[in-house]
Symmetry: C2
């Protein structure tokens, strides 16, 4: 009888603030980081499950402490019981009544719960010998419904409605699986558009993105409207009229500011404005959407749970949503969100980048294509060319498309050496960083 015998955590940080990769209007100097978790088992083969929370530096230790606080709910469990009832496992983490007070279902504690749930999915998929996208895509509609916590959702989506959606998508699963394996899933790229980049670099990277096969690019906006007008013009000229151009304000504006600012950018035929305001502001997004129509509005990478996504859809606040693999309560809650999006007919453009987010979220988009929405032609997964070299099963991009991962698991495993090198604060990379600093008289 195989059991989970340990929940190991690692505070892993990459000193990305040395460059301006990843800079945007709200996050000027991120150190891309992962609070990384491994569920070890006593299986003699070394079977384990891996998950992570992405952060941008400070606070990654708090996130790691939150992962550790879940040990008592995980260590000692039978692997078969966990992997055969991933719905029950997920609910048991979210329902710890004392930990629930720290959210509920939001912030540090909820992200930790999501990472441990994702690690259990990695374990389950390894045990099944399949990548996670295929594990989901081969479940029955009833099994998928059984994964989901419908609490607080039933005014928008009932289990029966979810079942009907999944059954409607069932007949063509095989054909779509073949299509996915043949063509991959569309990607879009944010690499050209970081705020810290000079105009010439923006233009060059935008042209390269199109040459590489991307059909959508995204640039950051929100610090100066004059700069944004210029940068949108440069990007639009570089990619031409046939490529989609999206912009991302990273929560920079109040409602009225967003409307005024976006009217200045409306002439660039934008694919969407992402995160125009607070991720919590459902009614604000709805007001912005009315104010700047027909420019599409989007949010989601910071939307903290299914209840918030439900409201964004109920309020008609968004034209599309971003999901994030490591913000909400793991695969299970993301499946609830994908089902909500399918019911409301809203497209999904998964958020990625960071550390391992591309590796994780591709599985969810691909499972959605096969088993839920049945669509990939009108959507795309974000792609950023960062830090993939630290992952054992990194994403593979060809001609602007994600190729389906084929290895068993959730593609979340990092190389042990990468983890060891980047441990904070005492791994060799961070010791070097400190030695390179000038000696300070204070602190």
């Amino acid at each position: 009888m195989t059991r989970i015998v340990a929940l190991d955590t690692f505070d892993v940080r990459f000193p990305t603030s040395r460059q301006l990769d990843g800079s945007d209007a709200m996050n000027p100097d991120p150190d891309y980081s992962a609070a990384y978790v491994t569920l070890r088992t006593d299986d003699p083969s070394g079977l384990a499950g891996h998950g992570l929370v992405f952060t941008i530096g400070r606070g990654n230790d708090v996130q790691t402490a939150a992962l550790q606080a879940l040990s008592h709910l995980v260590v000692g469990r039978e692997v078969d019981v966990v992997v055969n009832d991933l719905g029950g496992f997920a609910r048991s983490l979210a329902d710890d009544s004392q930990l629930r007070w720290l959210g509920p279902e939001k912030g540090v504690m909820h992200m930790a719960i999501g990472a441990v749930i994702n690690a259990a999915w990695d374990l389950a998929a390894r045990r099944a010998g399949k990548p996670v996208w295929r594990l989901i895509a081969e479940m029955t509609p009833e099994q998928i419904v059984g994964l989901i916590d419908f609490r607080y959702l039933t005014d928008a989506l009932t289990p029966d409605e979810a079942l009907a959606l999944l059954r409607a998508a069932e007949p063509d699963r095989a054909a779509r699986t073949a299509l996915l394996l043949e063509q991959g899933y569309p990607a879009y790229t944010t690499s050209p558009g970081w705020l810290g980049y000079p105009d010439e670099k923006l233009a060059r990277l935008a042209r390269e993105a199109v040459a590489d096969g991307f059909r959508t690019i995204k640039i950051k906006v929100g610090l100066s409207v004059e700069d944004d007008v210029r940068r949108c013009r440069i990007a639009r000229e570089a990619i031409g009229p046939g490529i989609a151009l999206a912009v991302d304000a990273n929560q920079r504006w109040d409602v009225d500011d967003a409307i005024a600012w976006m009217r200045r950018l409306a002439s660039f035929d934008l694919a969407w404005i992402e995160e125009p305001t607070s991720p919590d502001d459902v009614l604000g997004h709805a007001a912005i959407r009315r104010g700047i129509a027909p420019v599409p509005v989007s949010t989601g990478e910071h939307t903290h749970n299914r209840v918030m996504f439900k409201q964004l859809l109920q309020a008609g606040a968004v034209d599309l949503i971003q999901i994030d693999a490591a913000r909400v309560g793991g695969v299970n809650e993301n499946l609830a969100i994908l089902l909500l999006a399918a019911k409301f007919g809203v497209r999904v453009f998964p958020h990625a980048g960071g550390v391992g987010l591309c590796e994780l979220v591709q599985h969810l988009a691909m499972a959605d294509f096969i088993a839920i929405s049945g669509r990939m032609d009108d959507r795309a997964i974000e792609y950023v060319d960062h830090l993939h070299e630290h992952f054992v099963d990194p994403v593979r991009i060809r001609e602007g498309r994600y190729l389906a991962p084929m290895s068993p698991g959730f593609s979340a495993e990092m190389y042990e050496e990468s983890v060891r090198e980047h441990l904070f604060p005492d791994g060799p990379v961070w010791r070097e960083e400190r030695e390179a600093l000038p000696v300070s008289s204070g602190e």
Copy 2:
């Protein structure tokens, strides 16, 4: 020049799950806890500021780690600079771009920020020789507006509108201060109504509450509708028709369940139904309110920031709100919420109980009465008779009213001995708890 020289944290827990005090539909066995923080200064008098996050047990260590993660933003600062610009201080904590990723403005990290801001208010009030309620009530309208982060609020409340509200309340401040000092502020009590209590105890405590002068009592509901009908009847019979009876479901229901359940309880002339569903569900509360009118709907103790309160008010989702002193970003964000409530004409019934929440939130309600809403006759502060003995300046209740605290500070300081005794896991109280447990073969 006096500086803050340390941010000390303490994981303090009380083994309250031994009794059923504090039990409700979602929280069956809380161990009331505080992640307690002290800002020490180098002032020879021993000047310090105290704050806390209330939790219900597990995860208090994560909350303590989050407090610790704020040290770099606090230690080394000049006390005069902090206390003379508490608005700037609060913003500097909320705006740390890397820590912001862990929320933003929600959950573990935001509660930690709130506690440190509250500790700075304690420090400022001690320095000024005034209780916090008076410190606020004696600020000019312009100073109060300067405390508030209006980001994401301006579609509902602008700085100019806030200033107008504050100026309108200014002329009668002195008269209201005198009234407060003479009469105290109304309290209501939840002590009779915990779910774990037998019917006889409910009836007895309800009668005692009325005899003690309380004009409103609240009972917990949500586990069994038949039980709730019986318990509402018992409570109503015990208190008679002239006393207000509120019920609290602690987030137990989906929208349709809440409507059906509350229709069964409508005949008891309820003062409000509190937390009928997810605290994140603004639109759900609005639907419930429409579905059970005229029973008033309320929420707020888990509402994580001003953006959520803004939407509850914009959507007409609530008849009244609870504020909590230790959930949002400290005094500053609560002042924003109180101003929003005043603008929308919604009554405030502050949430209290737990550890130190009564001690803290009374200051906010009293400042609101004097400087913002000008009302206390149509509202009340929750009161639970728990754990006050651990506080140096505990609340004083007389004839169902909170007497205004008179000592300088925020009433947040705990006795050093209480902290030491209840340190988790190695304080004497917890060592005793462990020794009293039967020896387990596992774990």
